[in-house]
């Protein structure tokens, strides 16, 4: 162990030590107390002494030269006062950090936390089944390894400002999930169509084992079909209603829908677009002609959408398979359709997992609904699917899965750059958090209120995190830790900022080189 400082004093929440090392917030140190190495997290670092302010006025003369001239010891200005919070010692019996509840005495030697102690930060070891090595603990070479078991069962949030490395981090998480250590069943709901590069995974030997080779399935929006009978009456109305739908029209539509649904149950099959249309038409009584016509006009517009089908629906078993990554690319469809697809997908999946676990569904009788393994869904732009203000078709189902999904093995990763626009309840259900650079104060406030395990001092660090650095907290790791996300094995995800000047110049220069210069059509006066 390398001694790096000495405890100066302590307060209720932390202690301070003096050192010549430049510790960054989030780094770890330790000290010995009662034969236990107590881990402590650096909260902030400030210089111990400042030069007299008058010594700083002259633009030419260095303060250090002045100090030496005046008789101050420049060495005194090389020390830092570091404030650190006690994490505790790792108790192997309980497999967690135990806070000794006693601060170190003044004069206690502070040591660098070595790899052995830092490994206690992780719940699992790198390379172990159920592990996800996503980077290194900041300022060290020690790996940061998440417990996949906890991460996928108790939901994950990945929060970062644009350009902070959010999609990159999702890529790293997916790589780990698809590795032979996990062979996960993962689906990415991709509103920007940026994750298709992850198809590299299936051809990359790094992900293959003896008999294992991950599969990547990319589903484009025109391949997605929603069976009309899977839509609820509220879904229909929300799609049809552009603000001009009267209560009377809604009541008639509901009447038709309920009538058909009751009939549908008796027949034990799903209704078609035409059947619902006929049922609406059957409600004509001579007095409601205009109302029925208005409903039909709206109904025909939505059923003309290719997405709605009489028989085809979301093939859950095809989307969710262990060792398979499914990327639903919904980049070229509108937000309400994205929400609708997400809602129906989540609803079916919840039903399937619940039914399979409760043995309502069997492989033989319900092959499309039988999913006997946990699944993990990554929702990019999660604030679109569970907004804090306003409604989204997918919001209720998402909240249900976030609160009850753990029991049935459905994990959700909520990925967003605007946590303040994401439903606070939903965010608080994500028990593992990967939080990257966030500058917006309202976003920081939302994180502080929704994520219990992240302390105030770590929140304060969010704006100063560099690209690719993240604070990881929650159940997948033993204590919050600042991590440098590792390099990806797969190609870079699109979504990086474009080099606009470079592209403009290249385009213009290429265009100019292709232009054939011809003689002017008018006669030139050459002065002859």
């Amino acid at each position: 162990m390398t001694v790096v400082g000495t405890v100066l004093t302590h307060s209720k929440d932390d202690f301070t030590f003096i050192t010549k090392y430049q510790f960054k917030a989030g780094e770890f140190v330790c000290y010995l107390m009662n034969c236990n190495h107590i881990l402590a997290r650096v909260r902030h670092t400030e210089p111990l002494n400042d030069y007299p302010v008058e010594f700083l006025f002259d633009a030419v003369i260095d303060a250090s030269d002045l100090a030496a001239f005046y008789g101050l010891d420049n060495n005194d200005y090389q020390y830092y006062r570091v404030s650190a919070a006690v994490v505790g010692y790792f108790d192997r019996t309980f497999n967690e950090f135990v806070n000794p509840r006693v601060k170190p005495l003044s004069g206690t030697k502070i040591e660098l936390a070595d790899a052995q102690i830092l490994s206690d930060v992780n719940r699992v070891s790198k390379g172990e089944v159920g592990s996800a090595h996503i980077g290194t603990i900041m300022g060290t070479n020690s790996g940061a390894v998440l417990s996949v078991r906890e991460m996928v069962s108790q939901h994950l949030s990945i929060i970062a400002a644009t350009g902070a490395g959010k999609s990159y981090t999702v890529g790293v998480i997916v790589e780990e999930l698809m590795s032979k250590n996990n062979m996960a069943s993962v689906l990415i709901f991709d509103p920007h169509g940026e994750y298709s590069v992850l198809s590299d995974i299936q051809d990359n030997p790094a992900f293959c084992g003896d008999d294992y080779r991950p599969k990547v399935k990319i589903v484009k929006s025109d391949q997605i079909k929603i069976r009309v009978s899977d839509l609820r009456v509220a879904d229909f109305i929300s799609i049809m209603d552009d603000g001009s739908m009267t209560e009377k029209m809604k009541t008639f539509f509901k009447k038709a829908y309920d009538k058909l649904k009751k009939d549908d149950k008796r027949k034990i099959r799903n209704f078609t677009k035409n059947e619902l249309q006929e049922t609406i038409e059957s409600l004509r009584d001579g007095k409601n002609e205009s109302t029925i016509e208005a409903i039909l006009w709206r109904y025909k517009i939505i059923t003309a959408e290719k997405m709605f089908d009489d028989y085809q629906t979301i093939p859950l078993r095809s989307y969710f398979q262990p060792g398979q990554l499914t990327i639903i690319d919904v980049s070229n469809i509108g937000e309400w359709k994205q929400q609708l697809i997400a809602d129906i997908l989540l609803r079916h999946l919840f039903d399937a997992r619940k039914g399979t676990d409760n043995e309502y569904y069997s492989e033989h009788k319900h092959p499309d609904r039988y999913i006997p393994y946990p699944t993990f869904i990554i929702l990019e732009e999660a604030h679109r699917f569970a907004p804090q203000a306003g409604e989204a078709k997918s919001k209720n189902m998402l909240k249900t899965i976030l609160s009850e999904g753990r029991k049935f093995g459905i994990g959700i990763a909520m990925v967003t750059q605007r946590p303040s626009k994401l439903d606070a309840d939903s965010l608080s259900q994500c028990m593992t958090q990967i939080t990257m650079r966030i500058i917006n104060p309202s976003d920081q406030k939302q994180i502080e209120q929704s994520i219990e395990s992240v302390s105030r001092d770590l929140i304060e660090e969010l704006p100063s995190l560099a690209r690719g650095q993240a604070i990881i907290s929650g159940v997948a790791i033993n204590t919050p830790v600042t991590v440098s996300i590792r390099s990806r094995c797969t190609a870079q995800i699109r979504g990086q900022s474009k080099d606009a000047p470079g592209i403009w110049r290249a385009y213009k220069l290429e265009q100019d080189s292709n232009t054939i210069v011809t003689a002017p059509s008018h006669k030139l006066n050459v002065g002859v």
Binding site: E54, F57, D58, V60, I61, A68, F69, Y70, G71
Partner: protein
Amino acid sequence: MNEGSNQIFGEIIRIDNVNTYLVKVQSESSFEPGVGEFAGVNSCDGLVVCVIKGVQRSVPEELATLLSFEQELKYLPYNTDFKSSYYIVFGLGVLSDDIKYRIRTAPQIRSPVKRLNKETIRKFHLKDDKPNISYFNQYRETLGDDLLLAISDELMYMLPEASRMLLIVKKYLEGSGKL
């Protein structure tokens, strides 16, 4: 200012501690030192470079009644000698082969005290050929800011190359950390 040789102008008649001495300057002395000026006295360690810290010419009558005549001669000589000046001189350091800002041996009683020429003063204030007034920080509390400001004024002339730094130090002393 004394540009040339180191001229004797008084003698030590009392030593309070290794740094502080009382110097008697005869009334016929042509030199009337001012506060902040430099003086020197030899000790067994070398030349003790001193600064004139104060002058005592008053007759503290309330003390005179408490002391015998013999004691007055020893401890309050200015009570009985109204012609001479009595200067409190503070030893800043020792100049021998190198400069030491800690005095370990006091000079002897009756040691002659001399004015220091510019060359000696410069030598005392140059450490590794760089201007140095580190005794300022060391003795700031003992000497007080007013005396240090007076010394700074002396040094502006003696160490012109350090005048810019001296101005900053003066500003610092005048501000007393108010900024």
